[in-house]
Amino acid sequence: MVPTVPPAVSPHRRPPRGTVRAYFRNIRLALSTAFDGMSVTMSYMFRRPLTIQYPDKIDKPVQEMLPESYRGVLEVDMDRCTVCLQCQKICPLGCINIESCKNPETGNREVTKFDIDIGLCMYCGLCAETCNFDALDHTREFEATVTTPDQMILHFVEKPREVTKLKAAEMPVRKHKGSILQKMIPAFGRRHPQEVWTPTAYAAAPVPALKAPTATPKPAAPVASAAPSAADSPTPEQAP
C-alpha cells in the first residue's frame, strides 16, 4: 500500500540463534570490532587536538579569528547615525530604544537616547542589515559579561547630540568596529586589538571605569523608560 523499498535482507531474518557458528561468530565480531574501534582511538593519540585554549593559550585573540561577518554585540557609530529609526522598527524584540527631540535653541534635531539592551538582543542582524549608513553594526565582540542586568543596557548617547544630516557619500569614515564598544563596559575594555596580545597584557590591561550606572544622571529611570517597548513584546528567550 505504501511505496516501500524492498529491504536488502528479509525483515523476518533473525540473527542465527542456538547454533555453534553463531556463537563463535558473536565472539569474533565483538572482539574484532572492539579492536577496530580501539585502533581508531589510538590513532587520535597522534593527532593534533582541535581545542582552542580560550582565553590565554592562543596566538591571537579569539575576536580576530572570527570572520568579518560574525554577529557579535551591536555597536552604533553616532557620527554616522541619522536617527531614521529603521533599526528600532525592525527589531523583533524592541531592544533598541531611540529618543530624539528638537533643540529649542538651535532648532536642530537632537538625539537624546540611543540604548541597546544586549540582554534582550538575540543577535539576529536585522537591524544592521536595515541600516543604510553602516552606523549600526555587529562587532566581533562576544565577551559581554556584566554583573547586573541594568549594565546590559548600552547607552550610546551620553549627552544630547545633534543628529548628523550628511549624505551617505559625505559620511565620516566608520570607526574601527569594536572600538566604540570596548569603551562601553568593562569586559570589553580589557583587550585592545592593536596591542601584541599576551596573557600578561591581558592581566595588566587597565580596566576602564564603570560607566553605566554612575555616569548617567538617573540610573533607575532610564531602565524603566528603556523597557516599555520591551514590555509589550513577549519575554525574550535565549536559545537553549
Binding site: Y23, N26, I27, L31, A34, F35, D36, G37, M38, S39, V40, T41, M42, S43, Y44, M45, F46, R47, R48, P49, L50, T51, Q53, K57
Partner: protein, 423 residues
C-alpha cells in the same frame, strides 16, 4: 622473607635492643608491619588513584581531539589534588529521607573492600604486605565486601535511581566473579598454589615464561579475565551501575563531598587491583628478565634494595599498561544492556572460562613442561601476540594516514602531534 618484616626486626633490634622473637616485641614488630604496610598501601592507592584520574582525563582528551585538564600545576598534573581538596571541602549532604546509618557506612565498606585487596598484591620481589597462602581467593573474597557496600549505598540513598545502580552493580559483580574466578583457576592449576608470590614465582621474566603465552587456553583465560575484571570494576562497556545516560549516575548519585570521592577512589583503586591481578597471574608479575628470584633473595644491601626497586618498577609498569588499555576501552566502546551483560557472562564467559580451565588441566596432563610441544606452543602463542600487536599498529597507522593529506590541505598544518607533545 618479607621486606617489611626485615625492617621491623631491624627496628626492634636497634630500638629496644631485644630479640624480635620474644614477647611482646613480636607484636610490636607485627603492629609496625601492619601499620606501616597499611599506610604504604594507602599511600599507593592515593598516589595511584589520584593521578590516574588526571591521566585518564588527559588520555580521554587526546582520544576525543581535545586537551583535558592542563591548568593546575605543570600540565595540569595537580588537577586531582585540586579536585580532591574541593571534594573534601564540600558539604556532606545527607538526603532527609535517606536510611542514615546505611547511607553513611556504605562508602567506607566499599573502600574497605577495595583497600583490603592491596594486602596481597606483590608489588615487588619482597614488596608485599602479607603473602597469604590463599592470596588469590582472598582478593576474590574481600572484593565481595564492595558488593555489600554498593547495595547499601543504593538502598540507603532512598533514591530509586540509586537503588537501580546498586542492584545492577551487585548483580554484575556477583555474576562476573564466576568467570574471573575460573580464569584465575587456570593459573592456579598451572602454578599449583593460591599464593600471589607463588604464582609470580612460577613464571619468569621473559614473555615466553609468562602464563599468558604458555598455551592457547591460558591466552584465552587472560582475555576472559581481563573482560570480567573490567566488568567487576564497573568500567565501560560494563559500566551499567553508573550509566549516566540511563540511570543518571547509579548508586553514588545522592552522595556529595568526600563520601562521593570514596566511591570514585574505590573505582580507580579497583582498576589498579584488576590490572595488578592480571599482571601477577598472567604477565609474569614483577619478574625481572634474566634474574631469578633466588638471586634477588640472596642479594645483600643496596643490591637487594635495587632489585626490589626494579621489580617494583616492572610490576607497576605492566599494571599501568593494562590500566591504560582499560582507559582506552572506556573511551572507545558503548555500553551493554542489562540482559546482554548477563548473556555475556553466563552464556559466553562462564562456559568458556570453565573450558579454558579444563583445557589447561588436559594440557598439564598431556604435555610435559619444558618439552618440545611445550616450547612449540609457547612460540606459537608469542607469535600470535606479536601478530596481533603488528596488526594493531598497522591499523592505527592506516587510520592516521587516511586523513593526513586532507587535513594538511584543509588546515595548513600537520596532523602529526605525538603524545609526548603536551599543549
Amino acid at each position: 622473607m618479607n621486606i617489611m618484616h626485615y625492617l621491623a626486626d631491624l627496628l626492634v633490634r636497634s630500638l629496644f635492643k631485644a630479640d624480635p622473637a620474644t614477647w611482646p616485641y613480636t607484636w610490636i614488630a607485627y603492629a609496625v608491619v601492619i601499620g606501616v604496610g597499611a599506610l604504604l598501601a594507602f599511600a599507593f592507592v592515593a598516589i595511584f588513584a589520584g593521578p590516574v584520574t588526571w591521566i585518564e582525563r588527559r588520555i580521554a582528551g587526546r582520544i576525543q581531539s581535545r586537551i583535558g585538564p592542563n591548568r593546575n600545576g605543570p600540565q595540569g598534573c595537580l588537577q586531582w589534588l585540586a579536585d580532591g581538596i574541593k571534594c573534601w571541602l564540600k558539604e556532606d549532604l545527607v538526603p532527609a529521607t535517606a536510611d542514615k546509618p546505611l547511607y553513611l557506612a556504605a562508602p567506607y565498606l566499599v573502600f574497605t573492600g577495595m583497600f583490603g585487596a592491596f594486602v596481597v598484591l606483590p608489588f615487588g620481589a619482597h614488596v608485599i604486605a602479607a603473602d597469604l597462602n590463599v592470596g588469590l581467593l582472598y582478593i576474590l573474597a574481600v572484593t565481595s565486601l564492595v558488593v555489600v557496600g554498593l547495595l547499601m549505598a543504593g538502598w540507603g540513598s532512598n533514591s530509586k535511581w540509586a537503588l537501580f545502580g546498586g542492584v545492577r552493580s551487585a548483580a554484575q559483580l556477583v555474576s562476573y566473579e564466576v568467570p574471573s574466578a575460573f580464569s584465575l583457576m587456570a593459573v592456579v592449576l598451572m602454578a599449583g598454589t593460591l599464593s600471589t608470590q607463588g604464582i609470580v614465582g612460577a613464571q619468569g621474566g621473559w614473555p615466553w615464561q609468562w602464563f599468558v603465552f604458555r598455551n592457547p587456553f591460558l591466552f584465552a583465560a587472560f582475555i576472559m579475565y581481563f573482560i570480567s575484571a573490567i566488568a567487576e570494576g564497573n568500567r565501560t562497556p560494563f559500566d551499567l551501575p553508573e550509566a549516566e545516560s540511563e540511570i543518571i549516575a547509579g548508586y553514588n548519585i545522592e552522595y556529595s563531598g568526600m563520601r562521593f570521592l570514596f566511591f570514585l577512589f574505590a573505582e580507580w583503586a579497583n582498576m589498579w587491583i584488576m590490572a595488578a591481578v592480571a599482571t601477577l597471574a598472567f604477565l609474569g608479575g614483577w619478574q625481572i628478565p634474566g634474574i631469578s628470584p633466588e638471586r634477588i633473595a640472596e642479594a645483600k644491601g643496596w643490591t637487594f634494595v635495587g632489585w626490589q626497586a626494579l621489580s617494583f618498577a616492572i610490576f607497576v609498569f605492566k599494571g599501568t599498561c593494562l590500566v591504560f588499555t582499560i582507559i582506552q576501552i572506556r573511551w572507545t566502546l558503548p555500553r551493554l544492556r542489562v540482559d546482554q551483560l548477563m548473556i555475556t557472562c553466563w552464556k559466553y564467559l562462564v562456559p568458556l572460562s570453565m573450558g579454558s580451565a579444563t583445557g589447561v588441566l588436559l594440557l598439564m596432563a598431556l604435555v610435559r613442561e619444558g618439552g618440545i610441544v611445550d616450547w612449540v606452543m609457547r612460540g606459537a602463542m608469542l607469535l600470535v601476540g606479536l601478530l596481533v600487536a603488528g596488526a594493531y599498529i598497522r591499523k592505527v597507522r592506516a587510520t592516521f594516514m587516511a586523513d593526513r593529506d586532507n587535513y594538511k590541505k584543509m588546515e595548513g598544518r600537520d596532523l602529526w602531534y605525538p603524545p609526548y607533545r603536551l599543549p
